[in-house]
């Protein structure tokens, strides 16, 4: 179900991921919603904390931009965990809804959730579910998980109360009417594939974000703009590199990002780069170079603006898109041989053709070399040495799923860079048609508007980036304020390092010993089936907190924040979570925040990383739990008072459900143990583990960075 590209991970095989340590991308196919649920929930908790932490973090500069859901999500994305959480929560909600729908059709959603949770994971599960369900409603009504998370600091408190109980009822009422539809939508949503993607920046740093399969590259770019505060010009692109084949290609803005990434193999070393690529839109800046390529170059340089416009009009705005009529002698690498043979190629809208020996150039004699339906065009790097190409100006045509050397890859070599760009661009025009122009126009608009947004609300973007740092600082402050403008992930990472300490405090506060206990709690929900331990731990909220500590390295940050916020407001409400985990999270969270820093985290971490195995992992996983608190906090900042009740609430799924909105985002408690997940495989446990592991891994990475 899950894959990490570069170091691709199948979700189930977290261990692999660990070992690789370089996983850039995690694919999560949430097909078994239930399973995912539980995991997600646990993760969500963890993630939440991160979000809050970031905000609180030193990087105060980052104002948290709430904006719409997407925006929020984006922000969260900085924190891998956050993103994961959100997604997971969403899935959970969806599944719950689905179940509810199935079970009762029209009846209250809450019941279904409750029902569902129990079956899968028992006690722990319930809480999780409750959280999830609440979140979902919130989403449905208001907007998104992300908001809560992002807003956690300030917004959380207030919203939670409302959402928590009153909202529940209201929601329920509404739900009766809209339930079915909602459920269906969620179902659909639940099917959505999501990946956690690590994007490399020019300065060597990286950003990690969650991408779902409905997002196109443009949307992802917008996310990155927010996170990196770059100038947002039209040249910014996402590129995919394939080191094994020495290829690279710029994604088109309208492409879905997830699809091509899914084609990466598990052990792939492919990378995604965020770069300025002038050639992407060169054809719209200097159309004459492509459409009048036969003219002498000096004349082309002197061409007037209005003539350029005319060219674009003629070729991109008519009933039909006109492909530059390229014709050139190119070298073709012969199948399976090292030799390169010259052929006269022609580019047409319908494909690339060559002129067979002894024939004329008339259309009827042309032989089709390739058509573009199933092919992408890539730039080849350093083919001179790799394949003994006549020059280094090579491009390649291959099916996107082909990742290794194969006779099905076509290698072409040009005399010079100019020719190569001409051909690659021409092929893109033939393949993508008017989409390219639309992409360009969209990019232009975005570039213009970004200037404004950057000036006015640079902060908004910051939040996301800061998140990492937030983690570190999180201890101090739960909410996402932290996100300071500093985009530098690296710095953030550092922050994280320090952060660990904070988490410990949290741990201390809440759970004192906890990591283990904590972990257990989380797991239970997720993996109810898998590990009994989790369940028990769950009950001990404190214990849960401890988990945060482990997180410290990775997760720690998140947890702390939540605590803070939660403590102030939400925690109590959610606390109700008597369902151990959630409630604990809330109640405990605050404390953890303070205490977290201390010990738990480190210890847990080490354990976690080293041995995913049960115990250590748990601690490590524990961190995840913190996230939950976050969520709860967000959702039920108000709830805090209720904390005690929470337990009760857990009993009653509905309340929990109401809050879910808040909780939605976070929760993936954690897959304390990989083993469990594996066992459960299909079950949420497995998912939970994954999630937690992922989170940890990510945190780790960050820390390392």
């Amino acid at each position: 179900m899950f894959q990490c590209s570069q170091n691709v991970l199948w979700i189930n095989s977290l261990s692999l991921w660990w070992s690789c340590g370089c996983t850039d991308i995690v694919f999560m196919l949430l097909q078994t919603h239930c399973l995912v649920y539980s995991r997600l929930q646990s993760l969500g908790q963890e993630t939440v904390p991160p979000a809050s932490l970031p905000s609180t973090d030193t990087e105060v500069n980052f104002p948290i931009g709430f904006g719409d859901l997407n925006a929020n999500l984006h922000e969260l994305e900085d924190n891998d965990l956050d993103a994961l959480m959100a997604d997971l929560v969403a899935d959970l909600n969806a599944t719950e809804e689905k179940l509810a729908a199935e079970i009762e059709g029209l009846k209250v959603p809450s019941p279904p959730p409750s029902d569902l949770p129990p079956p899968p994971k028992g006690l722990s599960i319930q809480p999780a579910s409750s959280l999830a369900s609440p979140t979902s409603p919130a989403r449905g009504t208001s907007s998104n998980v992300s908001t809560p998370a992002s807003s956690t600091a300030s917004p959380l408190p207030p919203p939670p109360p409302q959402s928590s109980k009153p909202s529940k009822e209201e929601i329920e009422a509404q739900m009766k009417a809209d339930k079915i539809k909602l459920a269906l939508e969620k179902l659909k949503e639940a099917k959505v594939k999501k990946l956690v993607v690590k994007v490399l920046l020019n300065d060597g740093s990286s950003k990690t974000l969650m991408v779902d399969e409905r997002q196109n590259v443009r949307e992802v770019l917008e996310n990155l703009f927010e996170k990196t505060h770059c100038d947002c010009n039209v040249d910014w692109s996402l590129c995919e590199t394939n080191p094994e084949l020495q290829l690279e290609r710029t994604f088109e803005d309208h492409e879905n990002l997830v699809d091509p990434l899914l084609a990466w193999t598990r052990d792939s070393e492919n990378k995604i780069l965020f770069q300025e690529r002038g050639e992407k839109n060169e054809v719209f800046k200097n159309p004459q170079n492509f459409y009048l390529w036969k003219k002498d170059k000096r004349a082309l340089k002197e061409i007037k603006e209005k003539d350029k416009e005319l060219l674009i009009q003629e070729n991109f705005c008519g009933t039909s898109i006109i492909v530059p009529d390229l014709e050139a002698v190119l070298y073709l690498k012969e199948d399976g041989k090292k030799s390169w043979k010259q052929r006269l190629f022609q580019l047409r809208a319908s494909g690339i053709y060559y002129v067979p020996k002894g024939k004329t150039k008339s259309s009827r004699d042309l032989v089709c070399f390739v058509q573009f339906d199933n092919l992408n065009v890539y730039y080849g790097k350093d083919f001179k040495s790799k394949y003994k190409a006549p020059t280094d100006f090579c491009f390649v045509l291959k099916h996107p799923q082909i990742q290794k050397e194969s006779q099905y890859i076509k290698y072409l070599c040009c005399d010079d860079a100019w020719t190569m760009n001409l051909w690659v661009t021409g092929i893109r025009i033939a393949k993508y048609g008017v989409s390219l122009y639309e992409n360009y126009k969209t990019a232009e608009k975005s570039a213009v508007s970004s200037v404004w947004t950057n000036r006015s609300t640079p902060s908004s973007s910051n939040p996301s980036t800061p998140s990492p740092t937030i983690k570190a600082k999180s201890p101090s402050q739960a909410n996402g304020h932290a996100p300071k403008p500093q985009p530098g992930p690296v710095s953030q990472d550092f922050d994280n390092v320090p952060l660990p300490p904070p988490p410990p405090p949290m741990a201390d506060m809440l759970p004192p010993p906890p990591p283990d206990p904590v972990l257990p709690p989380l797991p239970p929900p997720l993996a109810a089936k898998s590990s009994p331990k989790p369940a028990t731990p769950q009950r001990h909220l404190p214990s849960n907190f401890p988990p945060p500590p482990p997180a410290m390295e990775n997760l720690p940050p998140p947890p702390p924040p939540p605590p803070i916020n939660d403590a102030s407001e939400a925690p109590p409400d959610f606390l109700p979570p008597p369902p151990p985990p959630p409630a604990a999270g809330y109640g405990s969270l605050p404390p953890p925040v303070s205490s977290l820093p201390p010990p738990p985290p480190p210890a847990s971490f080490g354990g976690m990383d080293l041995s995913l195995p049960p115990p250590p992992p748990d601690p490590g996983f524990l961190p995840p739990p913190p996230p939950r608190p976050m969520f709860t906090g967000a959702g039920g900042a108000p709830p805090p008072p209720p904390p005690p009740p929470p337990p009760l609430q857990p009993a009653a799924p509905r309340p929990a459900a109401v809050r879910p909105t808040g909780s939605v985002k976070k929760m993936p408690p954690a897959p304390p143990k990989r083993t469990t997940p594996a066992q459960h495989g299909g079950g949420g446990d497995g998912g939970g583990d994954f999630m937690s592991e992922l989170m940890l891994a990510m945190n780790k990475k960050r820390g390392n960075n």
């Binding site: 269906l184 047409r348 319908s350 099916h399 082909i402």
Partner: protein, 776 residues
């Protein structure tokens, strides 16, 4: 005489005006030296029409229209209708007159005009000019029959044309609507359309052979879709306006893109031999001057009159079934660029009328899109235009008027197949050919939609769980060194994947293998007669593409699995609404293979059995047998099978327009200073110089770099100046330089059209850009 005494005219006219103004009878009396009185009647009411000789007003204009026309019509038109004014239009009228004079206008000097503008009673009372010599003018009246002797009139040179006509009509004693009639001067090949001009002014003497005949005459019009219509077209106005009129009648927007072409003789002969050709008669359609006909039932009102007319409209607006291969083979096909150039030498001159270009009543001409700059195609309003454009494109492909590659030809073939199939089952045509299948599939898709919208939870769940296919199939994976044949397994198609198991019983467990079809290539390998039904899958994997063959037992099974594979390769599941239609189309292709292999050619083109040779040019008739061709077209078809009729038409046009040679009209030219013939390709945005020997493009000039172009009509040479001091000059070999001039000016005109100006066609500009000196 008038030449010396313009006053004659002025007096009579003033008199007319005077009478008009004072009597309000709308009948004007003009007293001339010979006391000839002309009653110019303006039909204000139908009742007046019968007793009057109403050649001044035209049946298609109401009196009110005419009155207002004085301000809106071109000068020429106004002059013809010169009797129409109210007092306030007086000034206008004289202005018209002076304009109408043009070359001889010196007689209508300014002072004179001023005088008339005074229009005082005193002026009106001026005595008439002295009488002039009377001579005999013989006029052939076409309506009397070709054998009837010419009618002889006694006229004086200062009699204006309107007077001649009035006299003529009186003399024939025939009561009818003469409003469309006008005098044609045979020797000079010109119409005497300015009724206010005198014979003197026209330079007509006793030896002139004049013919009195209607301006609108029947014309056989061959449409791009090969159908021939008979309709009344204007023979007296410039062809540009004639085409406007025709397009108005046929409901084709943007008539400026079309023009008339002389047919190719060879073809005509052949056709005459066939003689089976049906001609659809539209001559009864009333001539209308309304710029946009009002629509009734989605078609111009005149088509809604009768079922016959409706049938004709259907012919215009629905694509024709694919022609039989023999028909394609029989058609004239240009074999070279020079042949094509000769065709382009046949365009009629837009600025002269049909009569002047030797087109006679009932002659045959082709209506074709001439300027390949199709502006603002809006399927909603452009049904006929789009259909005819498609037909023209289709024939250009089939007759290899434009070159394309084999792959492109297959795609064009697939689109034609699809279009012909869909156009027969479109809702609007349900009445005629409502095949039960179509109805069923329509209902099905409706159901699917409803499901999607209502969706109770359970329904939704079902809906979201895609249906599966299960069956025993045989699989073969060609690998190195394996000669193993096909092995049978239990196959299951679910979502976008195929899994197979040892047997049906074991299908609950783990499959032997699961193959995700998303992004794979699916190709048929079918021989119906040999009962071979193979599906060839090329499945992408990180290491390359894996080849897998699935063998089906029979058609039914094959159609289902093939359809499933196709959907799967596009990432769709069996729940996709197109599954059933995909099965249908695969079956109909199989059927095609059957019929075409049994009966050679001659298959009537109905939807179930189209001979695939009907879809490609004759070159491929020779290259491939139909059974070889069918799978190739089917292959291309899978990419277009889901298109709606309009989308398919548009796609066809887009691919056509994307061909490198699209929009090129060729003319053989000889460049100044060069001794050899070369070819000039005229495209919507550029001129291309092509070397005849090699066929290579030597040079390209874009219009937007053009500073000016001139035609030296004496030496028939076109000279063009481009920016950067580039000058070219050439004489035209296969076409009159007027045609080249018109192409260049026409394309420049086309590029001036813009949305803001919307519907109004700037006719004047067109003539300015394309007219040449003759138009002046």
């Amino acid at each position: 005489m008038c030449a010396f005494c313009p006053f004659n005219i002025s007096h009579s006219l003033l008199h007319m005006l005077h009478a008009h103004a004072h009597t309000h009878t709308h009948t004007l009396h003009m007293h001339h030296s010979h006391s000839l009185s002309v009653k110019a009647h303006f039909r204000l009411a139908e009742t007046e029409k019968k007793k009057e000789q109403a050649y001044f007003d035209r049946s298609d204009t109401s009196s009110i229209d005419t009155a207002t026309q004085t301000t809106t019509c071109p000068a020429q038109e106004r002059a013809r209708n010169c009797c129409i004014f109210s007092q306030k239009n007086l000034g206008n009228f004289f202005k018209d007159l002076t304009e109408a004079q043009e070359s001889p206008s010196s007689h209508f000097s300014k002072p004179w005009t001023e005088e008339t503008n005074d229009s005082s009673p005193a002026f009106l009372s001026l005595s008439l000019a002295p009488s002039m010599a009377v001579w005999d003018l013989s006029v052939t009246v076409e309506d009397l029959g070709s054998d009837a002797p010419p009618v002889t009139l006694s006229v004086a040179s200062d009699l204006h044309v309107g007077g001649v006509i009035l006299k003529l009509v009186e003399k024939t004693q025939i009561k009818r609507d003469w409003s469309d009639h006008a005098l044609w001067w045979e020797q000079k090949q010109r119409w005497l359309l300015r009724t206010a001009w005198t014979l003197e002014k026209y330079g007509i003497h006793a030896d002139a052979r004049l013919v009195f005949m209607p301006q609108h005459k029947p014309l056989k019009l061959c449409l791009p879709n090969g159908i021939t219509l008979k309709l009344r077209a204007c023979f007296s106005n410039p062809v540009f306006q004639t085409v406007m009129g025709i397009c108005r009648m046929l409901n084709i927007r943007h008539p400026e893109e079309l023009s008339l072409l002389r047919p190719i003789e060879q073809k005509k002969k052949k056709k005459d031999k066939d003689s089976a050709e049906e001609i659809y008669d539209l001559t009864e359609v009333p001539l209308s001057s309304v710029s946009r006909p009002c629509l009734y039932n989605g078609m111009p009102a005149h088509f809604a009159d009768s079922t016959q007319m409706e049938a004709i409209y259907k012919m215009l607006s629905v694509t024709q079934p694919p022609p039989a291969p023999e028909v394609i083979a029989k058609q004239y096909r240009p074999a070279s660029v020079v042949d094509k150039a000769h065709i382009h030498g046949r365009w009629l001159d837009s600025s002269r009328c049909l009569m002047q270009q030797g087109i006679q009543e009932n002659d045959r001409v082709w209506l074709r899109f001439k300027f390949y700059a199709f502006y603002d195609i809006e399927p909603k309003y452009d049904v006929v235009r789009l259909t005819q454009l498609y037909e023209q494109a289709r024939w250009a492909i089939l007759l290899e008027d434009i070159d394309c590659t084999e792959e492109e030809m297959m795609l064009f073939g697939a689109l034609q197949y699809h279009i012909s199939k869909v156009s027969q089952s479109e809702p609007q045509m349900l009445s005629s050919s409502a095949a039960m299948d179509d109805l069923e599939s329509a209902l099905q898709s409706l159901e699917v939609k409803m499901e999607g919208e209502t969706s109770t939870a359970s329904e939704m769940l079902e809906y979201m769980t895609a249906p599966e296919l299960n069956d025993y199939l045989k699989i073969f994976r060609p690998k190195r060194l394996t000669l193993k044949g096909y092995k049978q397994y239990w196959f299951k198609f679910q979502d976008t994947s195929i899994s197979y198991f040892k047997s049906k019983e074991e299908s609950i467990g783990e499959p032997i293998q699961q193959i995700n079809l998303k992004g794979c290539e699916v190709a048929p390998d079918v021989n119906v007669t040999a009962q071979k039904f193979l599906i060839r899958l090329l499945i992408p994997a990180p290491e390359g593409m894996n080849e897998v063959y699935l063998r089906c037992e029979n058609e039914q099974q094959y159609a289902q699995w093939m359809a499933a594979c196709r959907l799967g390769s596009k990432g769709k599941t069996l729940a996709d609404s197109s599954f059933q239609s995909e099965i249908q189309s695969i079956r109909s292709f199989l059927a095609m293979q059957k019929t075409s292999s049994s009966s050679h050619g001659n298959v009537p083109a109905n939807d179930e059995s189209i001979n695939t040779h009907s879809l490609v040019s004759p070159r491929y008739h020779k290259k491939y047998k139909t059974k070889q061709l069918t799978p190739r077209i089917l292959d291309a078809y899978q990419n277009v099978a889901q298109l709606s009729l309009t989308d398919a038409l548009m796609r066809f046009l887009q691919i056509w327009q994307a061909l490198p040679d699209f929009g090129l009209s060729y003319v053989v030219v000889r460049f100044k200073g060069s001794r050899k013939d070369e070819v000039m390709g005229i495209a919507p945005n550029r001129l291309i110089r092509i070397d005849l020997g090699v066929g290579d493009v030597v040079k390209t000039w874009r219009y937007n770099n053009m500073k000016q172009w001139n035609v030296n009509w004496d030496i028939r040479q076109v000279a063009i100046e481009f920016e950067g001091n580039v000058n070219i000059a050439f004489g035209c070999v296969t076409a009159d330089c007027k045609i080249v001039h018109e192409f260049i000016g026409g394309y420049i005109f086309m590029s001036t059209r813009s949305r803001e100006k919307s519907d109004t066609l700037n006719e004047e500009l067109f003539h300015k850009l394309t007219g040449g000196h003759e138009a002046l």
